[in-house]
Subunit: 348 residues, 2 copies
């Protein structure tokens, strides 16, 4: 049976970087005895401007039929007032994550050899953030009263369930247990966010009993900020809620050399729906269509896709090709998006 | 009339660092024609263990009679299971901030000459974070259902009002307008937290019209993380909500050389109650009582206190004494808490 992948290039630099990821994916599977079937879906800000559609039910239904989704980036240009701010992000990207039950938002952070960190002494950074992907402050459960008046009240409700917290915490422990250092740090703010925080705390304590080999520690999110710049090497697996994970992973990407390299997987570990793999970066409209974008994050996301589908050898080949390419990069010789993709492809 | 200051040393290193801040305060006001009246209040984790009290009504009432409050740090040792986690923080520290309407949580971030930043190329960092202090996710408005079962649901409600957002945003603009660069960055996550985010967005746009001299930009909190490590010099005034401000200011403290130097003011700009000045750092029970703590953050907080009470010249003298002392520090010669306090005192 062929590997049946949905491709959503999206907006801005999305199509450029996804083209390179597809190139590398094709090369990687050609060595295995697998046929790669790609189906492209037009979604995003551009598509909304043309059609008024964000994510129609029929498209969501069709996406469910694929083995996995390769995603570029979505989002309007900052100045574009035709698109309500955040609409595409919520009605398309977050809708996919929630509808397809992507409860593990997996974001590895590694400082690759040859990459400049903004930190003076970064040390060996190699950790993975397991960000909850289907609840917390991202549920869209807010409201407002007397909008536009001096009496306006606006609320945002973070919803957290034992079901949702437990499955992502268990995933974090599984990953920690499979790694050499076997360390798990959970991050929250349970001295202030008592109800959600204590659900997280109790859940971590309960699941920890099943993983006696894993060393556990806790950090308030503000303290985590400090360690991420003073001692990022201390981290192995971080498990945290949706919003804290959003914040932590951008900082982690920055200290490991930028979001041009940061890959992610929106993973449904129960495989009741396809998982989705996307670079952490956005659509970067300012450099779109100029072959200036770094496709590495998209290519590493394709490696996560291969790993998720069980093609570990192919995933490792892509990863090693990327590592080899990165180690040879010169800060002075900017290459085009396609040139980077070609080089990595050749090394696979 | 004397300057009537309440002193809350608190727990851990709190008493040590506050003792130095008081020393410097006394020296600074002795040059002005002011009498300094100090009243100490015993509050914090230790006090709770002895008395079962967090912040009795009578104490809160007595505190209201002072011109300002100088605060050290509170918090139990991490391993101490006798104290419910976060209790003192919420029932005492946050209760003070909320009861005394400290809506401007002011946290300056400067990279002083002679201080090592963990960043390779920090550039000239000199910004101030105006963190909202009385609403947002800190209101304690959460709940939980079916606690301890597999069906548990825990919520946290962020409450935001036009009244609360407008006054802190206006404060941010006033401060930006008074600074040479006149730049204000507001930070939120309005692509996801639509209701709270759009209240912030509309409020900033409305208040901006009153300050045509101030240049305004917006960053999602995740993007702000990146800039705080790749280009912190871009920031002048940051205005943001209570939780984002908590996160941003610890990162800001880290990139400017650590929370040993970060001062803060919990300010009631309407002066309907005394403002409170405290180092950003915690009680650090691991080094308490050993004269190892750096009192600089507490001393700089005392300078913010002087400024708030209108003693600008005295505030500047303290600040300059701190800057002079910092520029002469050697990483190899650790001085005691008191020795640092004495040196700064002598330079005032
Ligand atoms: C675009 C936005 C909704 C998204 C998020 O907040 O999750 C992005 O920042 C990310 O981290 O993937
Ligand atoms: C101790 C805690 C409640 C507090 C906060 O979250 O505001 C602290 O982190 C701070 O930043 O002053």
């Amino acid at each position: 049976t062929p590997m049946n992948i949905a491709v959503i290039p999206g907006d801005g630099i999305g199509p450029e970087v996804v083209a390179e990821a597809v190139k590398v994916l094709e090369k990687a599977v050609s060595a295995e005895d697998i046929e790669l079937q790609l189906t492209e879906y037009k979604l995003g800000a551009e598509h909304w401007l043309e059609s008024g559609e964000t994510l129609p039910d029929a498209t969501l239904q069709a996406l469910r039929g694929h083995d996995a989704i390769l995603f570029g980036a979505v989002g309007a240009a900052p100045g574009d007032t035709r698109i309500p701010s955040g609409l595409i992000e919520r009605e398309m990207l977050l809708k996919l994550r929630f509808s397809l039950d992507h409860y593990v938002n997996l974001r590895p952070s590694r400082l690759y050899q040859g990459v400049a960190s903004p930190l003076a002494n970064p040390g060996p950074i190699d950790f993975v953030v397991v960000r909850e992907g289907t609840e917390g402050p991202y549920v869209g459960n807010g409201g407002a009263l007397r909008v536009g008046t001096a009496q306006e009240v606006a609320t945002e409700v973070s919803v957290n369930t034992a079901y949702g917290v437990e499955r992502v915490v268990r995933d974090g422990f599984r990953r920690a247990s499979a790694r050499p250092r076997k360390k798990l740090t959970y991050v929250h703010k349970h001295n202030v966010l008592v109800y959600a925080g204590h659900l997280w705390k109790r859940t971590v304590e309960a699941v920890a009993a099943e993983f006696p080999d894993v060393a556990v520690d806790y950090l308030h999110v503000d303290a985590a900020m400090i360690f991420l710049v003073t001692d990022p090497a201390r981290f192995d697996v971080i498990v945290t809620d949706n919003l804290f994970g959003d914040i932590i992973t951008d900082l982690a990407a920055a200290v490991t050399g930028g979001i041009g390299l940061a890959a992610s997987g929106n993973i449904n570990m129960d495989r009741t729906a396809p998982s989705m793999f996307e670079p952490v970066h956005g659509s970067a409209p300012d450099i779109a269509g100029q072959q200036k974008a770094d496709p590495t994050a998209a290519i590493l996301s394709a490696a996560l896709l291969l790993e998720h589908l069980g093609y570990d050898a192919a995933a490792r080949r892509v990863e090693h090709a990327v590592i080899a390419d990165i180690s040879q990069r010169s800060p002075d010789a900017a290459r085009s998006t396609a040139a980077i993709g070609d080089a990595i492809c050749a090394a696979v």
